[in-house]
Amino acid sequence: MRKVYHKIIRIAGNVITVEADDVAYNELAEVSGLRGVSLAQVIRLDGRKVSLQVFAGSRGIGTDDEVRFLGREMQVSGSDALLGRVFNGRGASRDHRPDITENLIDIGTPSVNPAKRVIPRHMIRTNIPMIDVFNTLVESQKLPIFSVAGEPYNELLSRIALQAEVDVIVLGGMGLKHDDYLTFKRTLDEHGALSRTVMFIHTASDPVVECLMVPDMCLAVAESFALKGKRVLCLLSDMTNFADALKEISVTMEQIPATRGYPGDLYSQLAARYEKAVDFDGAGSITILAVTTMPGDDVTHPVPDNTGYITEGQFYLRNGRIEPFGSLSRLKQQVNGRTRPDHRAIMDAMIRLYADFKSTLEKQSMGFKMSNWDKKLLKYGARFEKEMMSLAVNIPLEAGLDLGWRILADCFDRTEVGIKSDLLAQYWPEK
């Protein structure tokens, strides 16, 4: 029987401090008060003073409430029974079915030894040309979607999840609108994917601290499936809410903020989660697709900025389409050399010309006379946006490449596209 402590000496924000002995760092405790029992986690030890973050929030906690330490850290079940189920940010059932307590595993485990990783080699087909052709998604990649509120990022997530050929989908919702949660659930259900999905959902109305646990829980579950040889896709929406929860706790703990109130270890905190994406040498893989909403569409905001330095590229979702500039898949080179010989050439040439189109647009808007070249670019840009960029387009990679050649040939002469002559000889469509 573990000892119960009654002396809470400080309550600030969602953090309480209690005097206690023999407590371990990161240990869990139960706080029982007027509003029932809540979980809490040790976040600082100083002599006998133990600070804990309370998951359900500190509202209504009294100075003589009971704190009982559990002698273990946060755990989650790693069993197959999770499939098809929905849980909250504490790992408790959210779908009116019993909790799952078998096969418990720790969350926030150590990082994977780089020597046990392999170079990712498998493309994930999405049938979205802006991804498949220009920024190929690769198994075991970690990739955020940078976006602003109101963009269809959750729709894009579910579309990729359904198209991708993976064994298990783990969905983590952080500060998710309840409507969005229901939409996710319905979309997955309609396509028969619910039975291979595990959901950990923290909605906007749940206590903030619970949000902090969601990524770790999702990734611990993903890891346990990947170690069993499964290919897992982990969807996290929205990581900015996670970062804001970190900020809230660190400010309560009176840590010196680095930029815009975020803690100095924001980079390491985000990296510890994203780096769980892995292709194991001799087991399965974890691919992470996350949503990072950019406050004020500002990519230099600390959350998207730190994220960009951690992840293997990013997709910018703006005005309902994936922007070619700034969007990047760092792993595309691992796969696009082996899809079709013209893949890289088409990818580079079309984006370069689209950049030229953009500067021509500027010139046009200033009322300058359009040269022949400008006219060609204008024609090209319009077709590129309509036939390639639109998210309504749903075609396989090969059809996308063929379409690229056709657009180029319709708009330009051979020498104007900056592609090696041998590729031109092989692929340039004759009129």
Binding site: Y25, L45, N113, E275, F368, G418
Partner: protein, 580 residues
């Protein structure tokens, strides 16, 4: 040396990866201590002492640690082991070999496991240099062993001050690294056994040389925009700041593969694990054209990726530079590539925050600048006491927050480096790789090519950019044909020379000879007076010329097709000259 009995103290506070210990015995700043948590011993380092309390950063997760846990002080500073067998190794920031660790603990990096940095059983072919009776001092060569193609000298440990006399030395033969290969005695009559290895504290530079020289020779990296436009010197320093996605890591990989140097130390500091995996898996397969052996044979990889403990990240850059200095002492040219120094600075910031120090700009500690300059100053070309030269060249990637070069880490770095290769978002968006900005970057070192011609090429780039800006205001029709041609020339130079396709075997690496030839050929176009009827025909001409040059970039130097292509280019140029 006598075994010290470990000094035990107790933990009194835990805050993230910082712990506080109340001490009763002597403690040293930067002393290494082990915290006993359950069955594991977690390595940590003293970073501040106040009153009877010492603050320590723990190089591992502090999970499950309790107030009252034992802390064992070692009396040693954080050190690395130096000796034959360092090459080809993959270490974490504390010199733990990752491959062995994987054999021992599987998929994950379990905390508290520290393995020997060097293989203790491998036999090395030792040839003595020193003789019995020789007077030697620290750093003097007692013998050598072949390590791959490198002659690895066994030196009297750098920490052994004073004059020593060789009392005995073993005969040529095969020994492991722990064999006593010599016995030496100092003036006070103290005798010590010399083995093939020694320890050196990472945060202190190895200073055993007669003088530091001015770096003058160009380090050939085979990247055209570096060697020709913004060169790096052997023994110099450079930095590559850039926003994310601008190609810092790809550029660093290209340099580490193609640089003409003896030893490359890659420090992956707080970056993505996936990028290290590429090196780990690919380098053993890639051939180093200089030696005909695998690239791994000349490489050491220090890998402390972003999810590995943050305190060890701070140590990793020091571990890396110490290894580079060690090989420099053998008269070799070494190159250290650190990706990224910003992550190292962030590790300092995290600890500084936990120590509740008064923050400087963007919450970085006030001593950031002196630490950064101290690190880059460990680079240099030195004259060893043997008369040979050796060098450490340091290249650091910088990841400025928001891509803004005004931030403290970039600014502190710019003050101390000899070359600034600024990567720009604008260029990477337009897929102009490497995205080194040709107008904003600078270098204080000597280029591979004639400075007068280089100045001419630079002025074309500058004027071309001016014309481009002007055209955005006055439009193409408001631009004179002469200006327009300058713009086309600058674009031509950019496309066929500055841009380089890293992923192509030919184009990815241009030897010094090839670069000089290419640059002369490009200059012919830049210097020529062309005559065109109108802008449209000028554009068409330059696009065709560009195609000819681009195709040649993918051909092997001096091959038959290369020469044919050159003939085609000559014909194309002479056909449109004003005076033709």
């Amino acid at each position: 040396m006598a075994e010290k009995t470990p000094v035990m103290e107790k933990v009194v506070a835990v805050n993230g990866n910082m712990i506080t210990v109340e001490y009763t015995h002597r403690v040293m700043q930067n002393e290494v201590a082990f915290v006993h948590v359950g069955d594991s011993r977690l390595k940590s380092e003293v970073i501040r002492i106040r009153g009877n309390r010492a603050d320590l950063q723990v190089f591992e997760s502090t999970n499950k640690m309790k107030v009252g846990d034992d802390v064992e002080f070692t009396g040693e500073l954080l050190s690395v082991e130096l000796g034959p067998g360092l090459l080809k190794q993959v270490y974490d920031g504390l010199q733990n070999p990752l491959n062995l660790l994987a054999e021992k603990s599987g998929f994950f990096l379990q905390r508290g496991i520290y393995l020997s940095a060097l293989d203790r059983t491998a036999l090395w072919d030792f040839t003595p240099i020193a003789k019995v009776g020789d007077k030697v001092r620290r750093g003097d060569r007692l013998g050598s062993v072949p390590e791959g193609i490198i002659k690895h000298y066994i030196m009297l440990p750098f920490a052994w001050r004073g004059a020593w006399v060789v009392k005995s030395i073993v005969a040529p033969g095969q020994y492991n690294i722990d064999t006593t290969i010599a016995v030496v005695e100092n003036e006070r009559g103290e005798t010590r056994n010399v083995t093939m290895t020694q320890f050196w504290p990472v945060k202190i530079a190895i200073d055993d040389y007669s003088e530091k020289l001015l770096p003058e020779e160009t380090l050939v990296t085979q990247q055209r925009s570096i060697d020709t436009f913004f060169p790096v010197a052997v023994g110099g320093t450079f930095c590559t700041p850039g926003p994310f996605g601008a190609g810092k890591t790809v550029l660093q990989h290209a340099i580490s593969q193609h640089a003409q140097t003896d030893v490359v130390v890659v420090a992956a500091c707080g970056e993505r694990a996936g990028e290290v995996v590429e090196i780990l898996r690919e380098y053993p397969e890639l051939e180093d054209p200089r030696t005909g052996r695998s690239l791994m044979d000349r490489s050491i990889i220090i890998c402390n990726t972003s999810s590995m403990p943050v305190a060890a990240r701070e140590a990793s850059v020091y571990t890396a530079v110490t290894l580079a200095e060690y090989y420099r002492q053998m008269g070799l040219n070494t190159l250290l590539l650190a990706d990224s120094t910003s992550r190292w600075a962030q590790a300092l910031r995290e600890m500084s925050g936990r120590l509740e120090e008064i923050p400087g700009e963007e919450a970085f500690p006030a001593y950031l600048e002196s630490l950064i300059s101290g690190f880059y100053e460990r680079a240099g070309l030195v004259k060893l006491r043997t008369g040979e030269t050796g060098s450490v060249t340091i290249g650091g990637a910088v990841s400025p927050a928001g891509g803004n070069f005004e931030e403290p880490v970039t600014q502190a770095t710019l003050k101390v480096v000899g070359a600034f290769l600024g990567l720009s978002r604008e260029r990477s968006d337009a897929r102009r790789y490497p995205a080194i900005h040709p107008l904003e970057s600078w270098s204080k070192y000597k280029s591979l090519v004639d400075p007068a011609k280089l100045a001419m090429a630079r002025s074309i780039l500058r004027r071309g950019s001016d014309v481009n800006q002007m055209m955005k205001v006055v439009g193409e029709e408001g631009t004179s044909i002469d200006d327009f041609i300058v713009y086309m020339k600058s674009e031509f130079l950019d496309y066929v020379f500055l841009q380089q396709n890293t992923f192509d075997a030919e184009d990815g690496a241009s030897s010094a000879e090839r670069q000089r030839g290419m640059f002369d050929d490009v200059c012919r176009v830049l210097e020529s007076d062309f005559t065109f009827a109108d802008k449209e025909s000028a554009r068409v001409y330059f696009l065709e010329l560009r195609q000819l040059y681009l195709d040649r970039n993918y051909m092997a130097l001096n091959s038959a097709e290369y020469r044919e292509q050159k003939a085609r280019i000559d014909q194309k140029i002479s056909g449109s000259l004003k005076n033709a």
